[in-house]
Subunit: 167 residues, 2 copies
DNA sequence: AACCGTAGTATTATAGTATAACATACTGGT
DNA sequence: ACCAGTATGTTATACTATAATACTACGGTT
């Protein structure tokens, strides 16, 4: 099926990064926005992992010929990337995740593994509808939603299961 | 109907605070937990408003014969109150809200007004089901969920509407 | 009543997250 | 070359959260 849920251990991660960057180029191009070195670096770092990174984690990894960028710099890049849908903020982690389906702006929920920190971004049309209905009923003017589930990804769940291999 | 959505401007707030405290007493009693002065004060402050308060906001309001408590103290009270379902953390606000339906531990979504900061806590059975199904499909072991909608409450929405009275 | 273990509190210090403010530099159009 | 607009570099500071440790209050023994 098309829905990717959690990334497979052996997926082609190089391709996955490359696709992300290519899409970002195109997205900036089409909006007449600049895909600067700063923005590029931050997105690359996020694409390199399938988990959210905090701003200070990003700062530390930022390889900048000796110097370290200040937080504001990272926040600016993130703000931009988020505004065009290339990055999502995960509220329950205070951290940022590269969008795994850029270009499709539908409503998604994030499944956050509390053990390995991997995050799956999955479509949540049913939840979208439920929220829209709820907003209608209550007279609430909906702007955005925060949908996050916390628990264990399949790998970590089976590793921790009572019948698992960790007795 | 039973569902209260956003609090009415003229609702009996004294009764609402009183009911909250009474329920808290009972909840602690039945679990053999102590409802100490610390915990009591924090809950009272939260019950006094229908919006989430940050820890440092709570600290400032904490009237403690001249002294101010340290953050850790507030966090401890909150942790306790949250553990028995009397208080919820609103992730997208980094703040805490008194539960408006204590005793019923069903899945709720928070509707956060970005203007007046009021929060409605409404039942979200449909969303609960949708998440459970999703977890099943993906092999995710669900522990908890963060469901928050951001936008404008009915009052603020009508005050801001293009045909409204604020032109 | 004195003792003891546990839970809760008080306090200090420090870690982690986020933004304000302002000077500088780059880009594209005239 | 100049200008306007956008993005960056830097310093400083505000806000949020936790660790570590000593102390105190309470409930159950003996």
């Amino acid at each position: 099926m098309d829905q990717s849920f959690f990334p497979e251990r052996q997926h082609d991660h190089e391709a996955c990064i490359h696709a992300g960057m290519a899409h970002a180029e195109a997205a900036c191009e089409s909006r007449n926005e600049r895909f600067t070195a700063n923005r590029r670096s931050v997105l690359e770092l996020l694409l390199a992992v399938h988990r959210p990174l905090g701003v200070y984690e990003l700062m530390k990894q930022f390889d900048w010929k000796g110097r370290r960028p200040a937080p504001a710099q990272i926040y600016r890049a993130l703000e931009f990337l988020e505004s065009i849908g290339l990055v999502h903020r995960i509220e329950s982690c205070n951290a940022y995740l590269a969008c795994s389906r850029p270009g499709r702006h539908h409503c998604t929920i994030f499944l956050v593994c509390e053990q390995c920190k991997t995050v799956a971004e999955v479509e949540a049309k049913r939840m979208q509808d439920a929220i829209a209905d709820l907003a209608d009923q209550t007279g609430f003017e909906l702007h955005s939603q925060v949908l996050e589930a916390r628990g264990l990804c399949p790998d970590c769940a089976s590793a921790t299961a009572p019948d698992g291999s960790d007795h």
